[in-house]
Symmetry: C2
Subunit: 171 residues, 2 copies
Amino acid sequence: MIVVGIDPGTANTGYGVVARQGGRMVALDGGVVQTSPSAHPAARLATIHARVSELLDEHRPEAVAVEELYFGANVRSALAVGQARGVVLLAAGQRGIPCWSYTPQQIKGAVCGSGRAAKDQVQRMVQTLLSLEELPRPDHAADALAVAICHANSAPMRRALARRDTVGGRR
Amino acid sequence: MIVVGIDPGTANTGYGVVARQGGRMVALDGGVVQTSPSAHPAARLATIHARVSELLDEHRPEAVAVEELYFGANVRSALAVGQARGVVLLAAGQRGIPCWSYTPQQIKGAVCGSGRAAKDQVQRMVQTLLSLEELPRPDHAADALAVAICHANSAPMRRALARRDTVGGRR
C-alpha cells in the first residue's frame, strides 16, 4: 500500500510518500512545496494544487493522509491552513482517492507511542521506521512522512473496524 | 466589467455575477452551490471547484470578489470556510483572474453606506442596485451579489489609487 502524507500550509506544504509491504515501510519521496510570500494567494494555492496533483498521478496512492490543524491555532492561521488544506483535499477528491485526517497527537502516538513526543523524537522514529540514512529534513517533509506512517500503520485495523469509513475518511 | 462574487462555504457557496457598464449594473447570474453533508469533504470541495470553474469559463470575469470570514468565527469554522475559500481562489488562480477579498463590513458599507446595515437592508439595496423584480434569494446568493457589487463599485477608485495591487488582490 502506498500512502501520500501531507502537512498543508500556504508557504510550506510538506509531502511524504510511504510504501508499506507487510511489516516493512520505505520512503518513496519527500519534500516541501514552497510558495513565495510575494505571490498572491490564488497563485500560491495553484502551485500547491499542481504539485500535489503531480505527486498523486505519479505514485497513485491508495490513500492521502493529511495533518489536522494543531491545537491552539488562531482563527487567522486556521483560515490560511484551511485554504491550503482545501486544495490538497481537492486534488485527492478529483482523483477519487480517499483522504484521512490525523491530529498531531494521533500522529505522534502512532509513530512514537506517545501523543506528547517531542519533534526530534518523532524525526528519529521516522528515520528508524523508514530506514533512512539521515534524519528526515526539512521539518515539514518529516511531518508529512510521519502522517503517512500513521495512516499506513493504522489503516489495516481501521479497515477491519470501520469498513464504511474507508470511502472518504473523516467527515 | 464583469465581476463574479463568491460567498464561500462547504455546505453552501453563494455566487453572483454582476456586469457594470458606466453607472448601470445588472445581474447576469446568481445562485448557490450546495453539497451534501453525507458526501466526504474532498468530494464536496471538488463539486465547489468544478461549479466555480464553470462559472468563470462561462462569464470570463475581469475579477473575482470573495467574502472574507465574518468577525467572531471560531477556529473550526475558519478551517472549514478556509477549505472552501481555497478551492474558489484556486479556480481563479488557475485562470489568472485577479481575486479580491472584502470583509462583511466593507461589503455592507459599499452597498448600503453603513458597515452595520442589517441583512434585509443589504438585500433591498442589492435588489435596487441591480433592478431585480424580487428580493435576491437565497441569502448566500444575495451575499455573493453584494460582494460583486462592492468590488464593481470600488474597482475604479482602487485601480487609480493602488495600481500595483490589481494583479493579485489582498495578500
